[in-house]
């Protein structure tokens, strides 16, 4: 405690429905704590905010693999065994377009262990990387892409959708879906420079939920991270431009039946996560599947159809994906989906109201575990948008969602990707044409 470095007053603390304490160390590293002494466990999460620092070679996907390999004081492959031996649960890591994170829930007498491992990753990784270590990480990242992209039907649609929905210099536009083969050409210096500029205290925060006091948490973080140089402050301007016309892309893939994907970029002012989740619940929830009922059971146009809302810091996306039924025309399906979306909320007001309550209730019950609460805190911080307060949610209803859908799901802000069956093409598909969709906004 006595030797903890200076920390400064809270900076933009996240607004959360549960009480938390939030401070920054002088080097910019955030510390957020929720005390809960019900059980002797603490959920921790280390998060780096990317804020657009995405690389076309996929360095943001490679970085966490290097972090998990070895550091100056942690031998190769010891990260997970050390945590596991301490009785850690909920051990995970992830790299999205907005953040890189590491999680662990440990007995409260082992809190220093993940802090040590994560401080190693932040402070003692870059100079340590050598050619074999880089080669290992590249090989694993490429293998991961094979499984998650190359072997997935029409997977190219994901990156293609982004290239049409995010314009100009938007970082999501060129971010790869899985590391590309060009990762092989990336050298050590390039990787080190990337790590030293992105994975720094100024962009990071540590979250604690559980059997620990805020004072104790700050003292421990200061011990392990206090001497780490801050890195450059993040100055990032959100690229706001939205597509002004829609795009149609045709992909050929080795699939049995054609597929259709429609993705809309949601304008920032309309991006209210709670309401989009409720809309998703209405179209494709556990209890109600209006899309399936309409397009598979009633119209028999598809064999499967799903809806998804992807919340992203720099522009969220809403998508509908379908596998077209044998002998049916994807063009007809698209027209019917447009027709359906124009009416659905208004026609299903009571179900929409139910979906709103269902999302509210799910969120409330999902907060039971320390790990879930740490995830909520960390997500809010990384996306710089607090979760809607349950009290505010009361104002959401069919009318507010109808308004959102009417304004956001318009042809000008969307991309339509048709994935045609072609036995000679790869499973993931190849793009054969890309045209502007001049459909008039209804």
């Amino acid at each position: 405690l006595v030797c903890a470095p200076r920390a400064v007053a809270a900076r933009d603390p996240p607004r959360t429905p549960f009480p938390s304490a939030s401070v920054h160390l002088p080097n910019g590293l955030g510390v957020v704590v929720i005390e809960d002494h019900t059980l002797p466990v603490v959920a921790l999460q280390m998060v780096y905010r990317l804020d657009g620092a995405l690389s076309t070679e996929g360095l943001h996907l490679l970085a966490p693999r290097l972090m998990l390999d070895s550091t100056k004081h942690v031998r190769r492959g010891q990260y997970s065994p050390l945590l596991a031996a301490a009785g850690a649960r909920s051990m995970s890591w992830g790299a999205t377009m907005d953040r890189t994170y590491f999680t662990a829930t440990v007995p409260s007498n082992r809190v220093d262990l993940p802090l040590w491992l994560w401080s190693e990753q932040m402070a003692f990784l870059a100079p340590q990387i050598d050619a074999p270590m880089l080669a290992r990480a590249k090989s694993l990242a490429i293998q991961d892409r094979r499984m998650r992209v190359d072997d997935v039907a029409c997977a190219v649609a994901e990156a293609e959708a982004r290239s049409a929905l995010y314009l100009d210099s938007h970082p999501y536009r060129t971010a790869p879906h899985g590391v590309p083969d060009s990762i092989e050409r990336v050298d050590l210096d390039e990787v080190r420079r990337y790590l030293e500029s992105v994975y720094v205290p100024q962009r990071a925060a540590v979250f604690f939920v559980g059997d620990i006091t805020p004072e104790d948490a700050v003292t421990r973080v200061a011990k392990w991270f206090g001497d780490v140089p801050p890195g450059k402050p993040v100055s990032f301007a959100l690229p706001e431009s939205l597509p002004s016309t829609g795009t149609q892309i045709v992909v050929h893939a080795n699939v049995e039946a054609p597929r259709l994907r429609i993705s809309w970029r949601i304008p920032r002012e309309l991006d209210h996560a709670f309401q989009w989740e409720a809309f998703e619940q209405l179209l494709d929830g556990n209890e109600v599947q209006l899309l399936v009922w309409k397009f598979r059971d009633e119209l028999k146009l598809v064999s499967s159809i799903t809806a998804s809302y992807t919340e992203l810091k720099l522009g969220s996306v809403f998508s509908i994906e379908a596998t077209v039924a044998q002998g049916k025309d994807p063009g007809e399906l698209l027209a019917k989906i447009d027709e359906f979306l124009a009416k659905v909320v208004d026609a299903e007001r009571s179900r929409t109201a139910w979906a709103v309550r269902e999302v509210a209730r799910k969120r409330a019950f999902d907060r039971e575990t320390t790990a879930a609460r740490a995830t909520i805190l960390a997500r809010e911080w990384a996306l710089a948008r607090p979760e809607e307060d349950p009290a505010t949610v009361e104002h959401f209803n069919a009318a507010t969602i109808l308004q959102l859908v009417g304004l956001a799901l318009v042809p000008d802000h969307r991309v339509v990707i048709r994935c045609d069956a072609d036995a000679g093409a790869p499973i993931a598909g190849v793009v054969v044409s890309r045209t502007a969709d001049r459909r008039v906004t209804p």
Partner: protein, 490 residues
């Protein structure tokens, strides 16, 4: 908290200034090394989790109740039905997964909101249902200690579900959608083929692939009601309660709501369930997935339900083999051979069977090599057991994780029910868990491994591109015994 934090920050600020904290230097600034960084921090004090006591009640009609008090906001009440092993496979596969949803909906189609749902929402409570192998459950998750209103609702749907035709139609549609989706998921297909092989198609756990959309469409209301009513029988019911319930009110409330349920007619005896029998030789089944660049390997075995030392040896073996990041499989497949960074173990045991499976996703070109490595690991444990340090690490890990398993009231309520369903006493088991784990020896693990995963009689399923895999696998000493199409059919 804020005052304490402020005091801490002010104090720390002065200290840091005195310690000469350096401003960020030019390119690239380095973190000074320090002696405390050189090795993993040790635990600061002994772990201090001591599980609470389980209260055991017997209602007037013979329903067993197990309750675990834990402070907090939530309480879970889990009402479970134990499915007899003689249940016909059609009922198991099609009726049970549907009726628990129909009963949960309280007889009212999920939407628009029924009175039941309105009342639950006003209560801030949630009723959900599940089928976890031989246990079907309805669960109430509520806030606060007084659950009277919500429990009344749970009791009303248990005692008088309507089984409305429109709800049945709705569930049939949901089930059919689920089946269609599952058939397109390679991991599910691999899992189902594996179960068919290790249990046999007549076993309750072996027949997933046999369920067809037409079976779902054909099931009648009468069949669903009959299946439900035969299980709504005090002799097959058990209640698990966990959380912030009112201890004084517990017995009178449960007695009032569930204590008068009359016994149902006994089920007609049917043929006994076939037991899993290890095959006479090694089996390797390929499920074709043309052009796949990654193969999913599943290696496993099954036994009739194991108990006592064997059951706990299984838990330890599961930890020794490990998962992505640690354990024998990861050490070999990832760290030594760089074959995969995704490997997983599953160990399941209940009153009908015990089962263990290793699953790994590997590059197609290295499937044979990965399979050989897995077989070697399994054979080595079955032959030599495990080293003392490895054994101690595995056991300590299980014990240290125990506190975390008490985080969700729902998990606790399920554990109480599942332990009872296994024929064990929840209080005795929770209290003795650590001792029973720590008593497992290397020889116990070796014996269990040799029986569950016999090296010369392993069952393996590989989901991948048959054309590309056949030659290399056979050249690698892995003869293929059978091939299936992408949806797992012969």
């Amino acid at each position: 908290v804020k005052r304490a934090l402020l005091a801490l920050l002010i104090g720390a600020s002065a200290c840091a200034a005195g310690a000469g904290h350096q401003p960020a230097a030019v390119t690239p600034p380095q973190t000074p090394d320090a002696p405390f960084r050189t090795s993993a921090p040790e635990p600061e004090q002994a772990a201090r989790f001591v599980p609470g006591r389980v209260r055991s009640l017997l209602l007037g009609n013979g329903i067993h109740v197990f309750a675990y008090a834990r402070p907090g906001e939530l309480t879970a009440v889990r009402l479970s039905f134990l499915v007899p092993p003689s249940t016909p496979i059609r009922e198991w596969r099609t009726a049970l997964p549907m009726w628990h949803e129909i009963v949960r909906a309280g007889g009212a189609t999920s939407l628009p909101p029924s009175d039941l749902r309105r009342r639950l929402l006003a209560d801030g409570a949630l009723i959900r249902s599940s089928m976890t192998r031989p246990v079907v459950s309805l669960e109430l998750l509520g806030r606060g200690s007084s659950l009277d209103d919500s429990l009344d609702l749970l009791a009303s749907i248990v005692t008088g579900p309507l089984f409305e035709e429109r709800e049945i139609d709705f569930r049939k549609r949901m089930r059919a959608t689920w089946l269609a989706d599952a058939a397109g998921r390679p991991a599910w297909v691999g899992d189902s083929v594996q179960h068919e092989l290790v249990f046999g198609i007549e076993h309750l756990y072996g027949g997933s692939l046999g369920e067809r959309e037409e079976d779902v469409r054909a099931i009648t209301r009468q069949e669903l009601v009959r299946s439900y009513e035969s299980l709504r029988n005090p002799a097959t019911m058990v209640i698990g309660v966990a959380g912030a319930y009112d201890d004084v009110e517990l017995r009178p409330t449960l007695e009032r709501l569930f204590g008068s349920l009359p016994p149902a007619k006994e089920r007609a005896a049917t043929a006994p369930v076939p037991q899993p029998v290890p095959p006479a030789t090694r089996r390797l089944v390929l499920v074709d997935r043309p052009l796949a660049t990654t193969s999913i390997i599943r290696v496993g075995g099954a036994l009739p339900s194991v108990h006592g030392t064997e059951e706990f040896a299984g838990l330890v073996l599961n930890q020794v083999l490990g998962t992505t990041g640690y354990g024998r499989l990861d050490d070999r497949l990832d760290k030594e051979l760089a074959l995969t960074d995704s490997v997983d173990m599953s160990y399941w045991h209940d009153s009908l069977a015990s089962e263990m499976t290793i699953e790994a996703s590997v590059p197609a070109a290295r499937t044979g090599e990965a399979l050989r490595a897995i077989q070697d690991i399994v054979a080595s444990i079955g032959r030599d057991g495990v080293a003392p340090a490895e054994l101690e690490r595995a056991k300590s890990r299980i014990v240290a994780q125990q506190a975390g398993s008490f985080e969700r009231v729902s998990d606790i309520a399920w554990a109480l029910v599942a332990i009872y369903a296994l024929g064990d006493d929840p209080q005795q088991r929770i209290q003795s868990y650590e001792d029973r784990i720590m008593a497992i020896t290397s020889d116990d693990v070796r014996r269990f491994a040799a029986r569950m995963l016999p090296a010369d009689r392993l069952t393996t399923v590989v989901v991948g591109d048959t054309k590309a895999l056949r030659g290399p696998l056979e050249r690698n000493g892995q003869p293929i015994t059978e091939t299936r199409n992408a949806v797992g059919q012969r």
